[in-house]
Structures are given as structure tokens and as C-alpha cells.
Subunit: 317 residues, 2 copies
């Protein structure tokens, strides 16, 4: 299965004409996963034609306005649409208080089950085909990076090998395909790896959120297909990156290199690069070749062997 990743807000701190506040959505097998929900996210979802399916999960990296001020409006809009399916929100300490207080202050009703979870490091969601894992990032407050990890797929089963090893067609084949050891017609054990190709890794995508370069995000990113990393500043502003707890373009590239990721996407772009992001791209590219700068309404179609890019709307117009 492939993953659709759509960048809806790629700006840092304040929006610009071309970049909205932080929001990335991930579509996988009918599920919608939203990573951060800056102001304006709900409308960008409508413009991008992203519907609100039965399975809807929202992950907040940290409780700064530019990452979370679109959440109350989205929750309210889902209610105005008379949604009945549950909605799950995951975030750091403070997320429950924020949503409940704003809901109370603005007196809005929720038409669906709303489940808000304050997360810890580790697996925060486990579904049949994927997990979402959180790791502490290095920012001002409690702040999380998240990974979406498709579960490994069993390798191809070879009937000829099974027959040659004395395992007849039938329930024993199913057991082997499920990873179990069976006994053949001679009473000898036959192991799955003898009749199947090795399991295929699933797709892995990592969102750093706002962060200084750090071990925990590096570890979370190991061998990811796509790493979306904070790249608020170019290298000439490394001191500002340190004081503001963000990363520079080449710091993001170093993490991508060490983590052996396939593609690095720079995001959370400071408004000072409104006219050009070339400096960011060039500085990153010196350390890590396969890098792009995120844009609003850029879509990545990610399979295990390939990533294709498409612009849903040209934000440069």
C-alpha cells in the first residue's frame, strides 16, 4: 500500500501569503492522520479536497499556537457537519486542558465521541496495518516527534518449496504464511523462512515537529522512507536556531544522513525565506543529496520503492 502525504501548512511561527501554519495530513487505507493543526488547517483540508473519514486521528507535536490553534475550529466544524464517528487526538501534556477550556469558553457542542490522549514516548496508536510512535523532541516545552510505521508484510510464499519439503497444500501452508513452524509428512520441522521470502519492510515516515537536532529524533528516524524535519533557519542563523530551539537546514540534513533515510523534507520555514528557499536547499544538499523543501499543497505519494511528487494547487500563483 502507498501512503499519501499532503503538506497543508509549512510555515514557522507566523503564516505568510504562500505558507499556512503547521499541518501535514497522511492518508493510508482510508484512515486520515493529521500531524499538527495550525490555524487555517481545516480550510486547507477543504481546498485540498481531503474529506473526513471514519478513522480520524490528530497528533499534536507541542502546545504552541502555530501548531494547535486550528484544532478547536476543526473539532467544531466536524460537529457542525454532524459527525458521529469518534475522533482521537494525541498530544503532549496540556492538550486536554486546552481543548476543554476553549470548548467551554466558546460554548461549542461536540456531536461525536472525542478522545483526547496525553502521550508518552513509545507506541501511541496500534492499528492492524500500522503503528504511530512518539519520541521526545528537543524544544521549549514537552514536544514530540511522531513516526508512522507500516507493519512489515510477509514475504512471498513459494508453494514449490513447500511441496519439495514435504508440506502438502492445505492448512499447513496457511500456518507457514502466518509465521508458524509446522511438521512435514515425515515428522520433520519446516520453518517459514524455508518456504517464504524475507518479510518486506513497511513504509516509515517521521515528523520531527519543532526541535533542535537530537538523539531521540535521530533514533526514531532510522531507515525512514521520509523524514520531515524542522528547518526553520539557514546555517547563517545557527545561533538563533539554538536560542529558539529549532534546526538549521544542514542540521536537519545531518540527522537524515545519520538516520539513513531515503528522502528528507525540510519544513517549518521561517517567513524570512518567503522569496526564496534556495539557501536552505543548497545547505542541506551539501550534506544529504535527496532533499526537498516542503510547500503548501505539495503531495507525496510514497511506496516502498518510490516517492512521487504532485502539486495539488500551485501556492506560488
Amino acid at each position: 500500500m502507498s501512503v499519501r502525504l499532503i503538506f497543508l501548512g509549512t510555515s514557522a511561527g507566523l503564516p505568510t501569503v504562500k505558507r499556512g501554519l503547521s499541518c501535514i495530513v497522511l492518508k493510508y487505507r482510508g484512515d486520515l492522520l493529521i500531524f499538527d493543526c495550525g490555524e487555517g488547517a481545516q480550510r486547507s483540508m477543504m481546498i485540498a479536497g481531503i474529506g473526513f473519514p471514519k478513522n480520524l486521528k490528530i497528533f499534536i507535536t507541542h502546545m504552541h499556537g502555530d501548531h494547535v490553534l486550528g484544532l478547536p475550529g476543526l473539532l467544531q466544524t466536524l460537529s457542525l457537519m454532524d459527525r458521529k464517528y469518534d475522533v482521537y487526538v494525541y498530544g503532549p501534556k496540556g492538550i486536554v486542558d486546552f481543548i476543554m477550556k476553549v470548548k467551554e469558553l466558546l460554548q461549542f457542542q461536540i456531536s461525536y465521541g472525542l478522545h483526547i490522549n496525553e502521550v508518552n514516548s513509545g507506541i501511541v496508536v496500534e492499528e492492524k496495518d500500522y503503528v504511530v510512535r512518539a519520541a521526545e523532541a528537543m524544544h521549549f516545552q514537552q514536544s514530540y516527534a511522531y513516526s508512522f510505521e507500516e507493519k512489515p508484510k510477509p514475504g512471498k510464499f513459494h508453494p514449490d518449496k513447500a511441496l519439495a519439503l514435504g508440506v502438502p497444500k492445505g492448512p499447513l501452508w496457511k500456518m507457514l504464511q502466518e509465521g508458524k513452524c509446522v511438521l512435514n509428512m515425515f515428522g520433520e520441522p519446516v520453518f517459514p523462512h524455508q518456504v517464504m521470502d524475507p518479510p518486506k519492510d513497511g513504509i516509515k515516515i517521521v515528523f520531527s515537529g519543532d526541535t533542535r537536532p537530537c538523539e531521540s529524533v535521530l533514533n526514531l528516524s532510522m531507515n525512514a522512507d521520509v523524514l520531515i524535519h524542522d528547518s526553520t533557519f539557514d546555517d547563517s542563523l545557527v545561533d538563533k536556531a539554538i536560542s529558539d530551539m529549532h534546526s538549521t537546514a544542514s542540521e536537519a540534513a545531518e540527522i537524515a544522513l545519520k538516520a539513513n533515510v531515503k528522502l528528507l523534507v525540510l519544513t517549518h520555514i521561517s517567513a524570512r525565506y518567503s522569496s526564496s528557499t534556495e539557501a536552505l536547499l543548497n545547505q542541506a544538499r551539501e550534506k544529504f543529496g535527496n532533499v526537498i523543501v516542503a510547500e503548501d499543497f505539495l503531495e507525496l505519494l510514497i511506496s516502498k520503492n518510490d516517492v512521487s511528487l504532485r502539486r495539488l494547487i500551485d501556492p506560488m500563483k
Copy 2:
């Protein structure tokens, strides 16, 4: 002086692809007045090229999410821009609590003096050249309509009349122009109306906010140049308008007619009219001829004798 009025959010409840959440800005002599601040307002201001001048006032009609959820982000962005000039916010009961709680929950700093005022009916702002007046609207909560009223301008002074009445050029002319009675060279009183045309009415613009048609908004709207009125539904949904405390198109038109306004602008348009607002326009027009339906990025240039329209960006593209 003319007034620039720019519609930035003309949708009701939830945004659509073409309409953002409630926000209208008014520019007058370098002052910026913002009426309602729905989610996304700050970015629409950037897209429309509206800067943030020294004199900045924000008026909130009521504490529903679609009218106020863009306010925390705007206040935060002004701070990120390192604004030093004071910002004044006016709104109903609850506005102080909302801003202070969100500021605390999201831990953002404010770089400028922030003055938040819970208003009552009557004049809420008086400046040299204009006042802003509030009147209670009829909605679920405490809800206000606001009028912007340019102060009357003195009529044209006629030097020939002053000379003929025995008032020589000099300080006495200034006193007459300031509305004071003077004594002429024969010791007789000369009154301003003898040497000046009658005062010219200033421009008056009224924003109803969300409301059922009501006396207080009608009174506030008397002889306005422009009335911007809730027109969430067309007449076939009058029952829904009553239960949701909104107005239909022809109800808005009746208020415009009774108040003797020059131009009616229908706004707060339900998402159900995304493909066409013809029904709203036609129903209103049957009762009141000079009516338009608001659109995002529509600008009105309003002088006492004329209103011209311009689309800053074509939202239908």
C-alpha cells in the same frame, strides 16, 4: 475622506473553499478596524496586503468560534512581528477570559500593550474623526452589532458672506469655522450658519454580526451608507433562521429598507449556498434594490456619495 472596507471572511459557521470565517476590515485615515476575527483572518489580511498600522482596533461581535478563533493567532503574530504599539480589543463578556486563558495555555508572550474591553451598548470608541458604537443584537449569547460613524464635517465657509456681514479676515473667520458665534465690526452677532453651508454627514457603516432581525440593529442602522447584515439563510429556511438565531435574505432587506440605508451587503453565508447565492440576492432584491452578496477579498471604497467595488483577489478562481 473615504472608507475602505475589505471582506476577508464571509462564511457562516464553517469555512468553505471560497469563503473564510467571519472577518471584515475597515481602513480609515491610517487606522485599521477589524470586525470579528475568525480562524484564518490574519493570513487573509496578509494575502490582501493589509498591514498592521499604529492604530489597530479589533471588535468582536460575540464569543462563537467562527467569529473569534483567529484572534489568539493574530495577537501572537503581532508579537512575533515585535509590535510595540498598543492593540485594543472590544467585545462582549467573556472576551477577556478567552484571550487570557488561551495566552496562558499556549504560553505566548505579548510584545505590546494589549487592552481588552468588555463593551456595553453605546459609544465604545471615540476618536477625533469617528466613533464606534455598539448595540445589542439578538443572538444566543450576548452579541453586539457595531457602527462606524464618521463625525459630521463642517460645511463650506463663504468668505464673501462673512465680509458682507462685516466680519474681517482673521481669527474671527476661524472661530466661525469652528462653530462659534462672533461679533462683527458693528458689534452685532454673526452665526456660523450665516456664512457656512450646513454640516455634511459623515460616512456610517453598520455590522450586524449574527442576529435575528431586531429593533436595536434597525435603530443602529438608521440612514447608514452601508449595512452589512446577517443573511445566513434564504427565505425557505426561515424556521432554521429563527431556531439558529440568524436572519434570512429578505429579513435583512426589510431592516435595510426600514433603516433607509444606501447599500445592503449580505454576509455570513451558509455553506449550502457554495455553488450559488442567487436565491439570497433575488429574495433580498424583492424588498430592497441596492443589495449585494459579500465575497471574500471584495473591497468597497465608500465615500459619502458613492460606493465602488473591487475584487482584490478573485475567490471564484
